[in-house]
């Protein structure tokens, strides 16, 4: 089904904004997505009508808030085809989800173990594991990357061994848009006895992973990348793993019984949800899932593929423009540079034209080191972007090129 983009754009109040006197062209979706009014209204409705603390209250508002929060968990469960709703932990986002798992694995690893990361991770899927290795003495191995921005799977096969306890890889690279072969990675890792964590922060706005079919051990994402609010995200973990992992933070909500001699912990998911959570965030995360499911991720993916194809073709017509990340399996992200021009300069001129792109290393310095560049300009498209906006981007880049050469 073709998307009615004109109608969809009506859902996003921010797209009517002017920036520097020009209509906003928002192409920084990989950093964060814009929010439809359905999500914004949900936040206003919560604070206007039923704001209360959840789970222990006997009064009506608390019941309503608890129901809405837990119903969001169910929506997420259904969306990702998760077997049990208590396998979903609400966190502050993908970063906290990763830290929770990394912290838990401290108890399982020692100096003879290895963990493996891909060369194209976001810093948030590198640093927590380096810290884990520092704590436990485990060795960090890296799955290298090829020139086209895809993973060297042959090297993965060679490095994977019975010493490997955990493999963590992003579903989609934030800097390049490459879709990684996570099915293959999960299968091979499992056959070798390693667990797998997939960072889905970049993926979930473009595709709909079926977590049972993937058989992945942990999957994390952030709501704000998929039309939800900032400050909330999820950790999916298989029940047996979540039972095994020790609690991450102590506090209210996560306990069964507390005495000064001993505290027993609450059951899943509450064991990992200490303190008053981001209640409205969780509820609005659910509203965002509803919104996306209503449009359909398949339809979104189909339209975004058209945007990507058009943008790639048009951008490559510009002299001296080089795209980084040219694998056949990629989402609507284009990382590029103009020959002899710093990405920062290009981003600054585009901003003056009302076009929002991201410049820099995109929190993935190892990728920039691989290509020996200081950074890139990254245009990332969402289902509410249009072909006309791509034309404006192309025009803007040409203008910047003239000014900066």
């Amino acid at each position: 089904m073709a998307l009615n983009v004109t109608q969809i754009r009506e859902d996003f109040p921010i797209l009517k904004r002017q920036v520097n006197g020009k209509p906003l062209v928002y192409l920084d979706n990989a950093a964060t997505s814009q929010k439809p009014k359905q999500v914004i209204d949900c936040i206003v409705d919560y604070y206007s009508r039923y704001n209360a603390n959840i789970h222990r209250g006997v009064h009506t508002l608390s019941q309503e808030a608890t129901d809405a929060y837990e119903s969001a968990r169910k929506k997420i469960q259904k969306h990702f085809n998760i077997e049990k709703s208590h396998e979903i932990i609400f966190t502050s986002g993908a970063t906290q989800s990763i830290n929770l798992v990394a912290n838990g694995f401290s108890s399982f690893l020692n100096g003879s173990d290895e963990v493996m990361v891909s060369a194209m991770e976001h810093h948030s899927n590198i640093v927590p594991w380096q810290m884990l290795c520092e704590r436990t003495g485990a060795i960090l191995k890296v799955i290298p990357m090829k020139e086209d921005g895809t993973l060297d799977m042959k090297a993965f096969d060679e490095k994977l061994s019975e010493k490997t306890k955990l493999v963590f890889v992003n579903h989609i690279s934030n800097a390049l848009g490459t879709i990684n072969p996570i099915e293959e990675i999960i299968d091979k890792a499992h056959n070798s006895g390693a667990a797998v964590l997939v960072d889905g922060a970049q993926a979930c706005s473009h595709l709909k992973p079926d977590l049972q079919a993937l058989d992945v051990d942990f999957y994390v994402t952030s709501a704000h990348k998929l039309c939800g609010p900032t400050g909330v995200g999820m950790l999916y973990g298989k029940e047996e793993w979540l039972e095994k992992l020790p609690p991450y933070q102590g506090g209210g909500e996560m306990i069964a019984e507390v005495t000064f001699e001993k505290t027993t912990y609450a059951d899943l998911p509450h064991k990992f949800e200490a303190g008053t959570p981001n209640i409205v965030g969780g509820i609005a995360f659910g509203a965002a899932i509803d919104y996306l499911d209503n449009i359909g991720l398949d339809n979104i993916a189909e339209y975004e593929a058209e945007l990507l194809e058009y943008a790639t073709t048009e951008l490559l017509k510009i002299d001296g423009l080089k795209i980084y990340g040219t694998g056949s399996d990629k989402t609507s992200v284009i990382s590029f540079n103009l020959e002899g021009i710093h990405p920062y300069d290009v981003g600054t001129i585009l901003d003056k034209l009302g076009i929002a792109v991201r410049t820099g290393h995109h929190c993935a310095q190892p990728i920039m080191d691989f290509y020996k560049i200081p950074g890139t300009v990254r245009a990332s498209f969402a289902f509410y972007n249009t072909m006309e906006e791509i034309d404006l981007l192309v025009e803007g880049i040409k203008k910047a090129q003239v000014m900066l050469s």
């Binding site: 710093h342 920062y344 300069d345 600054t348 003056k352 820099g360 200081p374 950074g375 000014m403």
Partner: protein, 141 residues
């Protein structure tokens, strides 16, 4: 030229341009005309932290006046540092540490003052003033 006079001159100069594009083109020209820094001074210690692009800044004291030299791998950033050098360079450490930089707003570069802005204009000014403070201490000895 005093810091105040240089600022006034820049305000007048930038006022000649009507739109942002001409202003930026002028800024880029200023960046291109910035004298080359001695390549041996482009060391990691001279890189200003907090910039998305690389900025190397060096300062020397000549006849009790501070002389700055700089370079950047991004041309707009280089233009900004060129503007700052025009304002600061050749003045006494005391004048530099006490300088108020109202002109940045007036020449239409206010957006670069935001602390979230990755070009680190704020870091550049801080580093230039730090050099001046160090020279000030040196002169008092």
């Amino acid at each position: 030229m005093s810091i105040k006079e240089s600022q006034e001159e820049l305000i007048e100069e930038f006022a000649l341009f009507d739109d942002w594009m001409e202003k930026y083109e002028h800024l880029i020209e200023l960046g291109k005309s910035l004298p080359m820094i001695d390549p041996s001074l482009k060391t990691d210690e001279r890189i200003i932290k907090g910039c998305q692009s690389k900025v190397w800044l060096d300062a020397t004291l000549e006849d009790d006046k501070v002389i700055y030299t700089a370079d950047s791998d991004a041309i707009i950033t280089k233009g900004i540092v060129a503007v700052l050098i025009r304002v600061f360079s050749g003045n006494s450490p005391e004048e530099i540490t006490e300088a108020d930089l109202g002109f940045i707003d007036e020449i239409g570069l206010k957006e670069h003052l935001s602390p979230t802005r990755a070009n680190g204009l704020v870091s550049m000014i801080k580093q230039m003033k730090l050099y001046a403070v160090a020279f000030q201490a040196q002169l008092k000895k």
